[in-house]
């Protein structure tokens, strides 16, 4: 191969290499700008990822919907989980449908497993990345908070066309970052 052709092909590859992460950014930015806001109750715990760093693992309190006998759902099947807002202003899943809904808010997700009368969902809201030292501290703050009988951690999510992007994590009325800052001052 001559040098010109190699360089030409390399430039094409570079373009693809750049557009992949760039499109990841643009898609999420557009959701964060234009998506509707929802609050999901959650429990944060602290694991570790060698490449992507420390994060708080999120477990949504209600990650299932009642099973409907008419629809057979197997593991890994793509479904659309419908969202409603309860009296306390928290979002919860009411049902899953297999066709993309047009008028109701929803998240596109996959079936994790089905047991008895519940369909568990493999929700795309499972990690909140934090600075190395902050993630364990965040978990501790949540635990202390929970012991005082207030299990009101929630994650603020923006959703547009079924695609969810996490905005921030709240413990009580504060974002987790503010709670950490306050604790460090003390």
């Amino acid at each position: 191969m001559n040098r010109g052709l190699i360089i030409g092909l390399f430039l094409c590859l570079s373009f693809i290499q750049i557009t992949t992460p760039l499109s990841m950014i643009i898609k999420r930015e557009s959701v964060l700008k234009a998506g509707a806001q929802f609050k999901f109750k959650t429990t944060p715990v602290d694991p570790y990822d060698a490449f992507r760093g420390r994060y708080v693992a999120l477990r949504l309190e209600e990650n299932y919907v009642p099973a409907v006998k008419e629809i057979k759902l197997s593991r890994g099947r793509t479904v659309y989980a419908l969202i409603t807002i309860d009296s306390q202003d928290f979002a919860r899943f009411t049902a899953v449908v297999t066709a993309r809904p047009s008028d109701k808010p929803y998240i596109q997700t996959k079936v994790l497993y089905v047991t008895g009368d519940k369909v568990y969902l493999d929700l795309p809201i499972d990690r909140y990345y934090m600075e190395e030292t902050s993630a364990p501290a965040a978990e501790r703050i949540y635990q202390e908070h929970a012991q005082r009988g207030k299990q009101d951690a929630y994650v603020m999510v923006r959703i547009k066309d079924g695609f969810a992007v996490i905005e921030s994590l709240y413990v009580g009325a504060q974002t987790i970052e503010d709670a950490l800052r306050q604790e460090r001052k003390r």
């Binding site: 360089i7 570079s14 290499q17 760039l22 990841m24 950014i25 929700l123 990345y129």
Partner: protein, 436 residues
């Protein structure tokens, strides 16, 4: 003839001419016949190694720095930051392609660095936008974005990174063989590069490194993706794989001489011996069906087809390569490759008889070690004799501790083998004396 030998010959030629043993014309003809010895200086090799390790360390260091997750930066800053290492890596690689297209060290180093920066970039975006923890998709995206570098920059470390990456990806789908079997076509993308690397005499190291990565990755991927519908099939799949490695290592594509430069041949043969040795134990055949890694999900019909195709291709490849060597009547070379065939025969007796598989593999290992010993004696190669002896010793010691064979039979077999040893020894000693 190998490179070292020709070099030595060329060093001797002037002296031979001055002493009148060869005429100058004959010496020139010899030079013409053997051709020029291309040699690569030690400094160049060191440059490639150090340059690549340097690029690898810096790349990994950047990934770790980004993984710290700098929360004082705004989302916009981080989005920009995540593209910066990628652009730097690309600029570096482009400069190398433009200004130093001949330099192996520069190409290997910059391609390695760029490969890591692609991963760093995607990782930082995952972090900034809290992208769900789907490790498989993260790795696969990364790997597909770097594989063209292997060909555009003729770089082997990115190929090694790619192999490790797709193996890990296949592992994340270990419970879903329908997906993980895609490892094989993905791995096949590296084959032209591998053949090219083998042909590059000056890069024996590169080919050795790549073969090593391939052996390890393919072994893992086989356990992730193959034989899921077929209980106990590993006793055929793994010998076939190692047999293919062994025979590929035997191909004379390159004039490399040492074992360490031929990991395919060395590890292939060792793997075959270890497997055959395992097959001489009763429990392997007794619990064959229970040892299989059938997944909870039942795959059958069309979705099991890729699994079957890859499995059959590997087994057929092993048998064909074996047949090819048997045709040449070179027993010492072809014998290690008999394990897959014997495993197939033994597999058919599973459940009905345990004695038949055990007998097959005990006799086989006995013949294998004897063939090594005799080949070593014939070629007066003590190292080969000793490996044969070692193999035989391992087999005998294992049988001595087998509890389920009666003492009488064990005793008789030991005595017969011992007599056999003394007799062969005596015959060989007489023959060697006669030769002198």
């Amino acid at each position: 003839m190998n490179k070292m030998g020709i070099k030595w010959l060329y060093q001797e030629l002037p002296e031979l001419i001055t002493k009148g043993i060869l005429t100058k014309e004959i010496a020139d003809k010899m030079r013409q016949y053997y051709g020029e010895v291309k040699s690569i200086s030690k400094t160049t090799v060191m440059l490639i190694i150090l340059g690549t390790i340097g690029a690898l360390l810096i790349g990994l260091g950047i990934i770790l720095l980004l993984a710290h997750n700098w929360e004082q930066f705004s989302r916009f800053t981080r989005a920009v930051l995540s593209l910066v290492p990628l652009v730097i890596g690309q600029a570096l690689a482009l400069w190398v392609l433009w200004k130093r297209p001949q330099s192996g060290a520069f190409k290997e180093g910059s391609a390695t660095f760029l490969s890591l920066m692609v991963g760093a970039s995607i990782a930082l975006i995952s972090q900034t936008y809290n992208i769900p923890g789907d490790t498989g998709t993260f790795i696969l995206t990364w790997m597909l974005l770097i594989i063209p570098l292997v060909y555009l920059m003729q770089a082997s470390i990115p190929a090694v990174i790619y192999l490790i990456g797709i193996t890990a990806w296949s592992g994340t789908h270990g419970d879903n063989p329908v997906t993980s079997v895609l490892f094989w076509p993905l791995a096949a993308i590296t084959i032209p590069h591998f053949i090219w690397a083998l042909r590059q005499e000056m890069y024996a190291l590169r080919a050795a490194l790549f073969s090593l990565a391939m052996i390890i990755c393919v072994s893992y991927a086989a356990s992730f993706s193959l034989g899921k519908t077929w209980p106990g099939s590993w006793v055929i799949i793994f010998p076939s794989l190692y047999s293919v490695f062994y025979f590929l290592g035997r191909l004379e594509v390159n004039k490399i001489t040492t074992n360490w430069q031929r990991p395919l041949r060395l590890i292939g043969a060792m793997g075959l011996f270890i497997l055959a040795f395992l097959f001489t134990f009763r429990y392997i055949w007794q619990y064959l069906d229970e040892y299989s890694y059938i997944t909870s999900e039942n795959i059958a019909g069309i979705s099991a087809l890729p699994d079957y195709i890859v499995t059959i291709a590997i087994i057929a490849g092993a048998l064909l390569l074996f047949y090819d060597k048997v045709k040449l009547k070179n027993i010492t070379i072809s014998l290690p490759g008999a394990v897959p065939l014997l495993a197939i025969i033994a597999y058919f007796f599973r459940g009905q008889s345990i004695v038949i598989p055990l007998t097959i593999f005990n006799v086989y290992l006995f013949i294998l070690s004897l063939s090594r010993i005799t080949a070593g004696i014939r070629g007066s190669n003590l190292a080969v004799v000793n490996t044969g002896m070692l193999m035989l010793a391992i087999l005998i010691i294992a049988r001595f501790f087998d509890s389920d064979i009666s003492f009488i039979i064990k005793g008789l077999v030991f005595i017969i083998v011992g007599i056999g040893f003394l007799v062969t020894n005596a015959i060989l000693a007489r023959r060697m004396r006669g030769a002198k």
